[in-house]
């Protein structure tokens, strides 16, 4: 089975890999690059646990092929913190207990970071609809929504 050579950037680092064209970006991130922050909860774009950004755009990495990453810039949960400084969202998620089991957390952080970059002052309803594709089964979303709203408020004050 012939594999395709792909060059891409992940969290700012240039990476190369060979992959079968059937492999998804999620497969490549996890199995070839060993970035296991993105999770496979469904493989069909219904749960959002595999959320990443591609050229700044929020997508499900299970709904994109690895070969499509050629020349792109991929952002994953592993790239959210800057050095030892957590992103304000990461900090607030811990403080608010916006996670219980934590399996959906990487996807939700990637998704909410993308939201706040696009809309620094979202309403509760906007946050809820933006995150409708990120399933969480533990929290009932309450503390997640509160953490995002408070992060947004704090980031607005800081800027």
């Amino acid at each position: 089975m012939s594999k395709t050579h792909v060059t891409t950037k992940v969290n700012g680092d240039e990476v190369e890999f060979l992959c079968d064209p059937r492999e998804t970006l999620l497969d490549v991130l996890r199995d070839r690059l060993h970035l296991t922050g993105a999770k496979e909860g469904c493989g069909t774009g219904d749960c959002g646990a595999c959320s990443v950004t591609v050229d700044g755009r929020l997508v499900c990495s299970c709904l994109m092929l690895g070969v499509e990453a050629e020349g792109k810039e991929i952002g994953t949960v592993e790239g959210i913190a800057e050095g030892e400084t957590l992103h304000p969202l990461q900090q607030k998620f811990i403080e608010y207990a916006a996670l219980q089991c934590g399996i959906c957390t990487p996807g939700i952080l990637v998704a909410t970071k993308a939201l706040l970059e696009k809309n620094p002052d979202p309403t509760e309803s906007e946050v809820r609809y933006w995150l409708a594709g990120n399933l969480c089964r533990c929290t009932g979303y309450d503390k997640i929504i509160r953490a995002v709203m408070d992060t947004a408020a704090e980031m607005r004050e800081a800027s």
Binding site: E40, A97, Y141
Partner: protein, 749 residues
Amino acid sequence: MALDSSKTTGFKYVGTRPNRPDGLDKVTGRAKFGADAYAPGMLHAAIKRSPHAHARIIKIDTSKALAMEGVKAVVTRADFATGLEGEFGDILENVMAGEKALYDGHAVAAVAATSALIARDAIKAIEVDYEILPHVTDVDAAMQAGAPVIRAGAADASVPEGLHPNVVRYYESGHGDVEAGFAEADLVVEDHFVTEATHQGYIEPHACLGTLGSDGKGELWCCTQGHWYVQKVCAACLGLETSQLRVTASEIGGGFGGKTTVFIEPVALALSRKANRPVKLVMTRSEVFRASGPTSSTSMDVKIGMKKDGTITAAQGTFRLQGGAFPGAPCEMTAMCAFAPYDLKHVHQVGYDVMSNRPKQAAYRAPGSPMAAFAVESVIDELCGQLGLDPIDTRLKNASREGTRASFGPTWPRIGLVETLEAVKAHPHYVAPLKKGQGRGISCGFWFNHGGETAVSLALSEDGSAQVAVGTPDIGGSRASMALMAAEVLGIPYEDIRVTIADTATLGYNEISHGSRVTYASGLATIKAAEDAVQKLCGRAAAKWGIPEDAVYWEDGYAKPSGPNAGDFEPLHIDEITATMGATGGPICGHFEATPEGAGVSFAAHIVDAEVDPDTGKTSVVRYTVVQDAGKAIHPTYVEGQFQGGAAQGIGWALNEEYIYGADGRLQNAGFLDYRIPVASDLPMIDTVIVEVPNPGHPFGVRGVGETSICPPLAAIANAVSNAVGVRMRQLPMRPSRVLEALESAADG
């Protein structure tokens, strides 16, 4: 002198809300879950599953798969232990079918290959000849004369004669004379209720990485609620000595009961043994729905009599639970929980465990109780409505309390139902005005909670910090609770304690994390282990001072002489003792190994406002309040989280979640697209009230909190919808078409 740090007030650490110790790992993607493990030379596995609901397996031809480039091993049932009976026999039969495929999705063979894609291709190349047999998936149909028999002789001694062989267990209890009780009633309401099977819906599919050699020694990494149980089951299924298999629990991406049993781990180990390489096996989402353990579906009849003043005179319930192709549906739990909130002179409950051609049900958060509450609390709501009674006052009037006799027999110890109901009555939500098209519902809920075998080990480091090894996977922040309880006893800061989930080689047997037992039992064990260490610390101080051990006491991290008679010594801080512990007797550790038996039951009551679109029958939950007795909230934020999560799952169960089987017996909605769990935009904020009526069976008063929160929502939402549309909703889920039909029937009649 045995130390006793029991208290219910005056806490320094317990009851605070620090950041969880594993928070950083979980927000950076560093935490390793079931599918996140890799090993050198690792193979990927995939499972071939039956597309038929019920079929005899005539022949499995694996030759084409084995011939494929990259395929290293194929296993079928022949590669597992023989002669297993009872629980382990059923689990193995479920893990890999023997003579018959018993449900759509039942495993029949598995492949290990050098890549996941090759493994997936290879299972398509396995050819299975089936003789298709008649099937049944509905609980009432499965009990009917003439229904296909799933497995002859599966019924146990409890089942009365004359019932269909698919009825495999029977439970009956109660007291008094219900007929006499109904005769005293001013109003008797009897109704039939139906609920569909739902799935725990954890976001992380089952996943494991297993290595097993021909020497019978193995290593297994998996996401589970109980790795000692996995160890025991896998050893049995593969014919190993239990101690030769070491199981490490990964971080777990949700369980809710669904990861209390074993589905794929023996398969990975069998493939590994055959290929002599590590094997990783991860379920797809579709496999999770088809072949893990959803809840029972139910068919229930409930009859309750009430006087005009709200006194319940008698209650009777019949609960039929469909549990899939194996015995085990929690019919007795359903029956026992049904009337638990009420002090009843006359009560009678019956449960049936019924097999069908569906996957073997597994525990789901208070297994069996939410359905019972749906039926019972709906009837109580109907009685209150017809008699013009306040639903909370009526429940208070009949509430179980300390000293009253429980519906299932014993006398209640100290319980917190009355306090919980009073908190509901006092909550602003209960009297807030409703808008047009909205209805309000309330419901009680009850769950037992559990103790179980528990072992905890605590080791002090030279610098006075502490490591706590517990055996219960951290599903929702339990490391934080353990650290808080250890900090409270040791008198050292929360941050100085590291809590680790130990593997099976490191601690004695720990029962599965189920029955809301973690904060109760592992918490109790952590307290006891810390007390054990404190005792030793006091001993070292006593030796240094040359005074008797019992003349030393422990306070805020210091050993102190217990009074003027003991002598005048400067208190010794923990780090002064641990710094020299190697030279004063060796390492200082604390242990606890026992089976705590003081789990406190927990009651909850929920208030829901629902709004129904009269044109489409679509329901929105617009306001939700959870009130529950936690005994003592160790980390209140995570207690609130449990309350909110249970409510959200209950909302899904009530409104949209269901297993949909076609006439062909195949599951039609094996994915998150059509198995509709609540999304963020479906829910309101969920308010919580933590009631604290301490459990005397725990040093700090903890009651389990994880499960009770899913007991009231089905009924509370059904009551809200019923009150909004003016028609009693008797079937779940209350999907829009069903509500619309109810609205039409109301308009017609």
